[in-house]
């Protein structure tokens, strides 16, 4: 399997073409923007946080298949999680795409992005939504 085939799996292309949770979220409690200066990709992440849990997560923006599918799958995965659980997922996702560790089972479909670890040029695409998530949680938390 070529590096390309490893990266652009069916799952990824489907999420990229028809992203889940795409569009603004009415009644969001936090909204943060993210930029990937290396290619101009953009994301706006909307979270509705209720009783310390992510009740809903949506996003808008534009970008490559990697960043779009990552945002799509992430917003699926974090729904219903506590903030700490979401941060733990972020840690595991980054361990996979940055450090090249095998995917944690909790990541589900996101394991399709594990090929990114071999393509340093694309790590920032994969983590764009997750960095926005981290920032959103930071802003949402009473400090």
């Amino acid at each position: 399997m070529s590096l390309l085939e490893e990266l652009y799996r069916e799952t990824i292309m489907q999420h990229a073409q028809r992203p889940h949770n795409f569009g603004p979220l009415e009644g969001a409690t936090v909204k943060v923007g993210g930029h990937n200066p290396s290619c101009g990709d953009q994301i706006e992440l909307y979270l509705k946080i209720e009783d310390g849990r992510i009740a809903e997560a949506r996003f808008t923006g534009h970008g490559c298949a990697i960043s779009q599918s990552s945002a799509s799958m992430m917003t699926d995965l974090i729904r219903g999680r506590t903030l700490d659980e979401a941060l733990e997922l972020e840690r595991k996702f980054k361990a996979m795409v940055v450090e090249g560790e095998p995917p944690a089972p909790e990541l589900g479909d996101l394991s399709a992005l594990q090929g990114v670890a071999k393509l340093h040029a694309r790590v920032k695409c994969a983590t764009l939504a997750w960095n926005a998530l981290e920032q959103a949680i930071e802003e949402a938390r009473p400090s």
């Binding site: 590096l3 390309l4 290619c39 101009g40 990709d41 534009h62 970008g63 490559c64 990697i66 694309r122």
Partner: protein, 405 residues
């Protein structure tokens, strides 16, 4: 005519990456052995700080540095004392924007740019406009990607204090009729600032014939080291320009409260310059002059024509930029609905290096109606076989992503 295959052998990077098809010279070029060696020789034989040394080594360093200035002057058809060494085109443009703009711009004044400017010839003007109350206007583009000359004539008014324009677009490849536009703008009393970052490496520039006040270029795009570029200024324009960066070597007399300044070009070179980098840039200019800039341009043009012809064979490929003699060796494109970043990864897998994104030209991309493009650009070491490899890789990518286009 020069032989690109022979030229390529002057570039060590292709020895270390024999399969590399490098199509990103518009971002930064590779370096010939002569440039790397000039840098090493300088450090190992001649280095000391310039200008202020009373000993032999420092004089040798000063001579090497000033020889580089003379070479850049020759390259541009200018005088050595009109050549200011800076880091890159970006710094050159900021220098003019700050030094001239903070001194002369007022509320109600207009700065005329174009919709195809690189951020380097736009953001500095915004920063200075914000401090002075001046406003920015932009010459729009035609559907082919040329400047709209009628709109230019309308936008140019007596409020126009600055006209800032690129000689060649880093996305569309368009070569603008700078000498004509500049003459019109100067007649209206505007300062003319030309961004030569893309043009200077690729076509013969006689800077006096452009009717400009200032001309900016980056050494790293013309075979030189990173960290060195040039601001050329007409002698009178430089003489009238107040200092920008303050510090050593740009002064005459300093008291705690105030200072008087050295004449150009020293006035604009505060602190220890990028000496080895200037020396390397001088070597790059020499290398290019030996090839002959007419030949470099002819080579770029021939590759461009060949590439446009071959790329027309690729289905779903959308090409940007004008078709005509007024275009250099830069081709921006998109393949169907595929994001260029994904396309570039596929090309990279086949050893073809292209750049993707907004290429520091967001307003232009907004005008083109896309967030990003992929871009291939040519230089002296590229060959027709590089074009063939690009086309093959595009056809493969198209096959691979077929279901998703």
């Amino acid at each position: 005519m020069f032989d690109p295959a022979a030229v390529k052998r002057d570039f060590p990077i292709f020895e270390h990456h024999p399969d590399l098809v490098f199509l990103d010279s518009a971002a930064s070029s590779q370096k010939p052995r002569a440039v790397v060696e000039a840098t090493v020789r300088y450090y190992e034989h001649d280095h000391a700080n310039v200008h202020r040394g009373a000993y032999g080594l420092s004089m040798r360093a000063t001579e090497a540095y000033e020889t580089a200035r003379q070479r850049m002057a020759r390259f541009l058809g200018a005088e050595a004392d009109e050549v200011v060494f800076v880091r890159n085109a970006t710094e050159a443009l900021n220098l003019v924007a700050y030094a001239w703009g903070l001194e002369h711009l007022r509320g109600g004044d207009e700065i005329l740019v174009t919709e195809m400017e690189h951020h380097a010839n736009l953001v500095p003007w915004q920063l200075v406009a914000a401090r002075t109350g001046a406003r920015i206007k932009a010459v729009p583009l035609t559907a082919e990607g040329r400047l709209d000359l009628d709109a230019f004539a309308t936008l140019l008014s007596k409020r126009t204090r600055v006209f800032a324009v690129t000689q060649m677009s880093n996305v569309l490849g368009t070569v603008n009729p700078v000498a004509e536009l500049a003459a019109a703008a100067r007649e209206r009393g505007a300062l003319v600032v030309v961004d030569g970052a893309q043009a200077a490496p690729h076509l013969p520039v006689r800077v006096r014939e452009l009717n400009a006040d200032f001309y900016a270029l980056s050494g790293h795009k013309m075979l030189g080291p990173t960290g060195a570029g040039v601001l050329w200024g007409r002698r009178e324009a430089l003489a009238d320009l107040p200092p920008f960066l303050g510090g050593g070597s740009m002064i005459e007399e300093v008291t705690i409260e105030r200072s008087s300044y050295a004449p150009p070009p020293q006035r604009f070179e505060a602190g220890t310059p990028a000496i080895a980098e200037a020396v390397g840039l001088g070597a790059a200019a020499d290398y290019l002059m030996r090839l002959g800039m007419e030949n470099v341009w002819a080579h770029d043009r021939a590759l461009l024509e060949y590439a446009l012809e071959r790329l027309d064979e690729v289905p779903d490929l959308h090409l940007y930029g004008p078709r005509g003699a007024d275009r250099g060796g830069v081709i921006a494109f998109n393949l169907g609905r595929l994001h260029p970043h994904d396309l570039a990864t596929a090309l990279d897998e086949r050893g073809v290096a292209v750049r993707t994104g907004h290429h520091c030209a967001q307003p232009l991309h907004r005008r083109l109606g896309v967030a990003a493009t992929a871009r291939a650009s040519f230089y002296v070491y590229n060959t027709p076989s590089d074009v063939d490899r690009l086309v093959e890789a595009l056809l493969e990518a198209r096959k691979f992503f077929a279901d998703w286009l």
